[in-house]
């Protein structure tokens, strides 16, 4: 029985439209007009992420992203930040497995400035890139790594699980932050080569959303970006395809100084952009999204064995997505007790599928998340770029919520049955140890590779890292 429903006639897209254009140099442009608030968002996605990095140079895409804020031919030093902020705008850049994005949200009358700035660095970064900014940003990024991953409890869980879930040598085996050793090893010449290879108009999508005059905006884009030469320097990324299921349960026990035992797991799930991925999203929401989910009810409310329990989805287009389980235990509860309960719930779900009411709840939750994302010009600009870069069609962003609402309970059950199995997961168990023991462990077993989304300026957001 189809369970799709909508909150409003124009659910999700809210009557939004977008137009597509392409400059002669290959730059793809997406425009979406919305005059409600006098702001405009500029978003530029480069089709390069940590999956393009090579052995010994993990973290380079993200370190390079930092260098993009260090000036270009006509922009001095920190001028990019200074000019945008001085114009009443906000900005940032982030790097994930599959892309690097740069974005500015501007008051309408300052839109042209943001376009000029983005064009200047796309076309002339190497005119300003020098050793001084390389050395400085290398230190900044190493401190970013320490602050977000190394100096917080469970901070390296994501990179450990990623390294387990994607085999050695796979392009997604390491995460965007990179390893300390590789960050140390990166050279100025590496950065230059990276720019020459990946930073070209024909390897990018530019979206502008908000209070804009589309004709004028397109004319500005042609003026500033039109003369930047395109090139085909980029090799295809290494193949990220893997069998649908792992075929065995991979497992690592971490003994560290953490406040409580934890069970984390990553399930191999369908690629983003497929209907099965939307079905998996719904399955994870029913099982572990929010405080009415099956795992929350079982572990936190009824068994009272966990402090928190939830599932998240890391959508990936060039490799299998990851279903992300995170459970922190309560009191002295042992991990096997939790694990047995989870396996029981997953098996029951695979057997019975979701109830009609669970489908309604999960779809309502995902619909609200989409309304939130499309409710700001910056969120919309980012989604338009995402669908253009990863799936070749920005219009898909405006209909994404409908696709989630069309998924049936049977499809949700099917993906759960096929994928949410013990032989299709990598498991990470945390066992707390005292300080003395922790030091000993570190000596005996040096930390592995690196991790998640990294960004140029500290923010509270961590969009790519699964919750």
């Amino acid at each position: 029985m189809p369970m799709g429903h909508t909150a409003t006639a124009q659910a999700g897209s809210g009557g939004l439209t977008a137009t597509e254009h392409r400059l002669a140099n290959g730059l793809r442009v997406v425009l979406s007009e919305d005059r409600l608030t006098p702001v405009a968002a500029v978003c530029l996605w480069y089709d390069v992420g940590s999956r393009h990095e090579v052995k010994g140079r993990t973290g380079l895409a993200h370190l390079f992203e930092h260098l993009m804020f260090q000036g270009s031919a006509q922009v001095k030093g920190n001028g990019h930040f200074e000019l945008v902020q001085g114009a009443g705008g906000s900005l940032n850049g982030t790097t994930s497995f599959e892309r690097t994005n740069y974005f500015e949200t501007m008051p309408t009358h300052q839109l042209e400035l943001a376009l000029w700035l983005e064009a200047d660095r796309m076309g002339s970064l190497l005119a300003a890139l020098d050793d001084e900014s390389m050395e400085n940003q290398r230190d900044v990024v190493k401190n970013e790594r320490r602050q977000r991953y190394d100096n917080v409890p469970y901070g390296t869980a994501f990179e450990k699980l990623t390294a387990l879930a994607y085999p050695q040598g796979h392009p997604y085996h390491h995460t965007p932050i990179g390893s300390m050793a590789d960050l140390d090893a990166a050279t100025l010449e590496d950065a230059r080569a990276f720019f020459r290879t990946y930073y070209a108009p024909n390897n990018a999508v530019l979206s502008v959303v908000g209070d804009i005059d589309p004709d004028q905006t397109l004319a500005w884009i042609e003026k500033y970006f039109g003369s930047i030469p395109g090139h085909d320097g980029k090799a295809a990324p290494r193949d990220g395809s893997l069998p649908d299921v792992i075929g065995e349960q991979l497992r690592e026990v971490v003994e560290e100084e953490v406040p409580a035992r934890a069970l984390m797991a990553a399930y191999r799930l369908p690629h983003d952009g497929t209907r099965a991925c939307d079905a998996a999203d719904l399955a994870l929401t029913v099982l572990g999204g929010g405080e009415s989910s099956r795992l929350y009810n079982r572990l936190v409310r009824r068994d009272r064995t966990a402090v928190a329990a939830g599932f998240g989805l890391l959508r990936l287009a060039g490799a299998p997505s990851l279903g992300w389980l995170d459970v922190k235990t309560s009191g002295d509860v042992e991990v096997p007790v939790i694990e047995a309960a989870i396996d029981e719930e997953l098996a029951r779900f695979a057997e019975e599928g979701p109830t009609a009411e669970e489908m309604e709840r999960a779809q309502a939750q995902l619909e609200r998340e989409w309304l939130d994302r499309l409710g700001t010009v910056a969120g919309r600009a980012d989604e338009l770029c995402r669908y253009a870069v990863l799936f070749g069609d920005p219009q898909l962003a405006l209909t994404a919520v409908q696709r989630v609402l069309e998924v049936t309970a049977e499809e949700v059950q099917e993906v759960a049955k096929a994928r949410l199995r013990p032989d299709n997961r990598a498991v990470l168990v945390y066992e707390p140890v005292s300080l003395e023991a922790a030091k000993h462990t570190e000596d005996a077993d040096p930390p592995e590779d690196p991790e998640a989304e990294a960004t140029v300026e500290a923010t509270d957001e961590n969009e790519e890292a699964a919750k």
């Binding site: 608030t37 006098p38 936190v300 309502a364």
Partner: protein
């Protein structure tokens, strides 16, 4: 070596003509039950935000029961006279809604977000939660256990551990502000459903509560909706509680919370200063931004962009509690993380930045950029209903007029360099700052002692 680009360059474009924007003015009213309601129509915002403020501040918690306001706030979403805890959560999520509740010094706050099409149903659930919370023994007991389990996680987080220590240092031990907002193991363990219900009966009633509703209200009869939901909540009349003044000891000193082996040191350097009732606030906002608002501000220009000691250090002012008579206060602080070996040099640079600011002042250019940013970002910052609702609720909570934010933007634009400098310097005086460092004492104590920024003491992490 540079590389010549082959693109065609154009001069930096000039700004176009700006379109006017003003912080939205809410419409204020009162329900028959005494509930104050602020509403604001924001076209296009399909997700409606509702904030409810309850006059149940932390200082109203009975002695020895720190955390009861937090447990009550959480228990609002754990069942009513119509729904069990599980059913209540399910019904909310069926609306596509989220409901968060937390207790802080000024009071308890509930935040609902829901698609406009399902506002009626979600408001009914919210009203049930406030009007007839179940506070079942077993649910409260579970929340208490859950809260006890959270405490070790908070102590292990460098930033939260630092915040806890700074409060303990700044405020007198007798003041509620000196202790963790959500209670300690000892106090939380004593809380049961009777304690929660007593607190609720004493402090929660529509007459001292305010609801803020913001979003695209096209086609929604909000009066009828409110009448059936929050308007049907009953309770005795009461005067708002008097707000006690805030006192703090900002004698310059350093406390190191020892975390052996830490690869970074978490810094939190703070004191207490003026809140929004003080005329200096706009200048203080401006000066604080110039000092540490962004990565091109003075602190990060040195600590991050020149030295690479940190991913980012920020200066900020955050209102702790305000009173109608202006005796409230804000926490003024500088926070960030620096790598362990550079902790001493980073603090030395930080103090040098403060001393230079006091000696030489801000430049007109810095002031101009700061004003352009702080005023210019307003339409971006307030694009969503949730952002508008949150600021309107802050104003009510802080006893400010409904047009406060709109006025603040005009005041910022009228604040000069000299005033901004004076405000920043008096907000962050070099000898009146309490410094909390969460890091490896064996490595950082000695270098910090040589800086002369105050007596250094070391405490254990737990």
């Amino acid at each position: 070596m540079t590389e010549l680009a082959t693109m065609e360059f154009h001069p930096q474009p000039q700004a176009g003509e700006s379109r006017p924007w003003a912080f939205p003015a809410p419409e204020r009213g009162t329900q028959d039950n005494g509930l104050t309601v602020l509403r604001c129509h924001r076209p296009g915002q399909q997700v409606v935000a509702v904030e409810v403020l309850l006059d149940a501040p932390l200082e109203a918690e009975p002695a020895g029961f720190d955390g009861v306001a937090t447990i009550m706030a959480r228990a609002f979403s754990e069942g009513t006279d119509k729904h069990s805890a599980e059913d209540f959560a399910a019904e909310l999520e069926r609306c596509g809604a989220t409901l968060d509740a937390h207790a802080d010094h000024p009071g308890v706050r509930l935040s609902l977000e829901v698609p406009a099409s399902r506002l009626a149903k979600a408001l009914a659930l919210l009203a049930d939660a406030l009007r007839a919370p179940a506070f079942a023994d077993s649910e409260v007991e579970r929340l208490v256990r859950n809260r006890l389990d959270e405490i070790p996680h908070e102590l292990a987080s460098p930033s939260r551990r630092a915040a806890k220590e700074l409060s303990k240092e700044l405020f007198p031990a007798s003041a509620r502000m000196s202790r963790p907002r959500q209670g300690t193991e000892e106090t939380v363990a004593k809380i049961d459903s009777a304690a929660v219900r007593t607190f609720y009966e004493k402090h929660v009633r529509p007459a001292t509560a305010t609801a803020v509703v913001v979003g695209d209200l096209t086609g929604i009869d909000l009066d009828a909706l409110l009448g059936d939901t929050l308007g049907a909540w009953t309770g005795s009349l009461a005067q708002p509680r008097p707000v006690p003044p805030v006192t703090a000891d900002d004698t310059g000193r350093v406390v190191i919370v020892d975390r052996p082996g830490a690869v970074q040191t978490q810094l939190l350097i703070g004191r207490v200063g003026a809140d929004r009732h003080d005329r200096v606030w706009p200048a203080q906002v401006l000066g604080t931004y110039c000092l540490g608002g962004t990565l091109t501000s003075r602190l990060d220009r040195v600590l991050r962009e020149e030295k690479g000691y940190t991913y980012g250090v920020r200066a900020f002012g955050q209102v702790l509690r305000s009173a109608p008579d202006g005796t409230g206060a804000a926490m003024l602080a500088i926070s960030g993380s620096v790598d362990t070996p550079n902790t001493g040099p980073a603090l030395l640079d930080l103090w040098t930045v403060l001393r230079t600011l006091a000696a030489e002042g801000l430049t007109d250019e810095e002031r101009d950029v700061a004003v352009q940013n702080l005023v210019g970002v307003a339409p971006l910052k307030y694009e969503t209903a949730a952002a508008v609702a949150s600021t309107l609720a802050d104003q009510v909570e802080q006893h400010l007029p409904d047009d406060y934010q709109a006025t603040l933007y005009r005041q910022l634009a009228a604040t000069g360099t000299v005033e901004a400098t004076a405000a920043a310097v008096s907000a962050f005086p070099v000898n009146r700052l309490v410094t909390v460092l969460v890091g490896d004492a064996a490595q950082i104590k000695e270098p910090v002692e040589t800086l002369g920024i105050g007596e250094v003491t070391v405490v254990a992490a737990e």
